[in-house]
Structures are given as C-alpha cells and as structure tokens.
C-alpha cells in the first residue's frame, strides 16, 4: 500500500486538509447520519377520524440514516452493535449492518368512540419516537 500511495502522490500532490478534525469526521460520522425525522399524519388520512375524536393530528416521527462503523456511545448503542459491524465487515456480510431505530418514545392520549357508543380516553405507551439509536 506504500507503493500505491507514492504513485498517488506523484499524480496529485496532496493539498493539506484545511482542518484535520473535519477531515477525520467523514470516517466517524456518515453524511446521511442516523437521526430523528419528522412525520405528521392526520387520522382523517386513514379515515379513522370518525371514531378517533382526539387528537386530530399525530406526529409519530421516525428514524432514518446510516450508522457509522464505530458507533460508541454517540448513539447509545450497546457493544453488540460494534460486534455486529465487525461480523458484517470481517466475517459474514449476510449479517446485516446495524440499523437506525428509535431508542426512546413518548406516550399519546387518545379519545375514541367504542362500537357500543361509549367513549374512552386512554393513554398509550410508546407512540411517538423521540430519540434514535443504532442497533
């Protein structure tokens, strides 16, 4: 690999990167980094507004993006995530890379009409993603 580097140097003399930490960041954090994205739906889109009285709109949010190779605590990932990365890169690429998934949620209060005409207010757990992680 030293031989190849010398070849490259002859062709395009390297211009020293303006800022080393910026230069290294590309290896640590991918462009399309795993993060929380907003998504807002209204129950009328699902035609459920006849029996879901409140809320009218709901933002479940979602996680999307690439997980970096060295995940560490930035994403609250367990050690297993790094092990899975190593398996994917070194041992068996059929094992999937870690995915960007929700790590924490918040609840949602919903007011609905039951089939018998009674009305129920209920607080549901884990309805809105609030943080993402790589797992």
């Amino acid at each position: 690999s030293r031989h190849r580097r010398e070849e490259n140097l002859k062709e395009a003399p390297a211009t020293p990167p303006r800022n080393l930490s910026e230069y290294f960041k590309q290896f640590l954090f991918p462009q399309n980094e795993c993060e929380l994205h907003s998504f807002r739906l209204s129950f009328s889109q699902l035609k459920w507004d006849k029996w879901i009285i409140a809320p009218h709109r709901y933002s479940p949010q979602y996680c999307k993006g690439d997980c970096p190779r060295v995940v560490g605590h930035r994403y609250g990932s367990p050690v297993h995530t790094m092990v899975q990365n190593i398996i994917y890169e070194k041992l068996d690429s059929s094992v999937p890379k870690p995915s960007c998934v929700p790590a924490e949620y918040s609840p949602l209060s919903v007011l609905t009409i039951e089939p018998d005409g009674s009305i129920v207010y209920k607080e549901y757990e884990d309805m809105i993603a609030t943080k993402c992680t790589c797992r």
């Binding site: 609250g76 924490e104 607080e123």
Partner: protein
C-alpha cells in the same frame, strides 16, 4: 413466514374494525387484552393480510350522546397537550377514563310532585368494553343540568339503589343495596355535577359485573332547605339521565404508566451502564466517552 406476510401496498375496500376473532391468529393479542384497545385492532387490520379492505374503519358505531362527547373533549383538554401528550402534572394513577351512557329503553320517569319524587330513573349500564386489565379506581355519576330557573344553589337528595336480577323471581329485580345522600352545590350556570359513587359501585364492578342496573331518585330544592321548606321550591330539573364515568388503571403493556416513566428515566437505554467493554482496545472506544457522551 413474516417476510411473505408483508402488508399489501394497494389497500382498497372497507376496513371494518374487526372483532378480535377475525384477525390472523399471529396478530391476536392475549385474551381479554385487545378488546378494550380501540386503537389496536384497526392497526393490526391494516397491517395484516386481510388489510385488502379500505382503510376507513367503518365499523357500525353507535353515535355517543353529544353532551357526553362535549364532556370527554373537555376532559381530554385537561389531561393532554395540543399534540396529544399526557400532561405531566397529573397526580392520579388512572390512564383510562370510560364514559357509559345508560341504554335508552330502561328509562322511565314518573313525576309525583306531592312526594317530591321528581326524577326517578332506572338505569342499565353495559360495561362490556371494560377489559380484565383495567382496574377501577373511581366511579362517578355525571349529571348535566338544563336549569331553566337561573338560581345560585341547589340542595338535592339522591337515593341510589342497585337492582339485582334475582333469577328466582323473574317479576322484578330485588334491591341489593342502596344509599341515600344529599348534596348542596353552587350552580353558576354550571353544566355538570359529578357524584362520586365509587364505594357504592366498587363491589359490583370488582366482581367483573358486565351489567349494572340501578335506580336513581333525585329530588332537588332551590336554595338551602334549612331556610325554606315550601313545596314550590322544587325545581323542575330537566335532568338528563346520568352517564357513568369509570376512572381505571390499565396495567397492560400498551397503556402508559406514569409511575414507570419516572423509574424508566433513571435507567434510560441511551446512557448504558458503563461496562468495561471487553473490546475497548479493539474498537478504539477507550476513554473517548466524554466528548461522545456529551454530544449524545
């Protein structure tokens, strides 16, 4: 296999909010859990193979009483933010409130002014929607007033009795237990009066009674009875038959448990316990936790 059972993209036809039995067995929830979850069956329905029908959950639903609906919308605003997040300051443990209106055919009024028996109603409440994991904390009879007489205060005596269907005598149900109480309250064009009947109904609901049959006899006098006893102070209380409010604590996994969220914050997954990772030197994760931790 789960990969072949992906939901079909194009969904058409009518999605009828299913009774639990229609669902694919893999999607069924533990017995007695799913029936009370208005949200879950349609979610499962859309994601299951049978989701070919349209998304509109057009299950035949009886229209709720408009007054009751107004009350529950007010309750929703008190308990949840605009985005629907449960407000943090709630101190009580219930995460479910159910409102039942009495089934209509059981109401008959007899007005016998001489005995002041102005408003006696036989009420039958069907509590089928209450699930096994919803535990009763409080029950309230909710009255709404349409007082034509603008007045500042009422004193009402209420006689509440629960009727048991004594199957040996089909003629008329015997009265199992009853209670009488009077209440004095200020009415500033207030629309609602909540009468706590928890101790009264607890024995019935605790035994998972599906139907509650009670007679409520309500007589209201204007002002304070100590000062005036004239009969004409009886108020023509256009009392709408009361609804029954049940404040419940749902212990299932789908329901939000406020007391858990405090404990949960202490051991949040995003701050994994600092374990000596056996791979620290390999993955280069040694000691860089401070900067990363802050950013996380």
């Amino acid at each position: 296999r789960s990969r072949d059972r992906a939901a079909s993209d194009k969904v058409s036809g009518l999605l009828v909010a299913p009774e639990v039995s229609e669902l694919h067995p893999l999607l069924l929830l533990p017995k007695g859990v799913s029936r009370g979850y208005a949200l879950l069956p349609p979610l499962l329905k859309v994601l299951s193979d049978q989701g070919r029908q349209s998304w509109e959950s057009g299950a035949p639903r009886l229209r709720p009483d408009s007054r009751a609906l107004r009350y529950m919308k007010r309750l929703y605003k008190m308990y949840a933010t605009k985005e629907g997040i449960p407000k943090a300051h709630k101190s009580h443990l219930y995460n479910t409130v159910r409102l039942f209106t009495p089934c209509s055919e059981c109401q008959h009024r007899h007005r016998d002014l001489s005995k002041g028996d102005l408003h006696s109603v036989d009420l039958l409440f069907n509590l089928d929607r209450v699930t096994a994991l919803e535990h009763l904390l409080k029950s309230v009879l909710l009255y709404s007033f349409d007082t034509s007489v603008p007045t500042s205060s009422f004193t009402c005596t209420c006689h509440l009795s629960v009727k048991e269907h004594d199957f040996s005598s089909q003629v008329c149900p015997s009265v199992s237990h009853s209670v009488a109480f009077s209440l004095h309250f200020e009415v500033r064009k207030r629309k609602w009066v909540e009468i706590d009947v928890t101790s009264f109904l607890q024995p019935l609901i605790a035994t998972n009674r599906r139907n509650i049959h009670m007679a409520v006899n309500f007589t209201c006098l204007m002002g304070n009875p100590q000062h005036n006893t004239k009969q004409d102070n009886l108020i023509d209380m256009a009392l709408v038959p009361p609804s029954l409010l049940l404040y419940l604590n749902d212990t299932s996994e789908q329901a939000y448990h406020r007391w858990n969220s405090l404990r949960h914050r202490r051991k949040s997954p995003l701050r994994p316990k600092r374990r000596n990772s056996p791979f620290a030197d390999v993955t280069g994760d040694k000691g860089r936790e401070n900067t990363q931790g802050k950013r996380a």
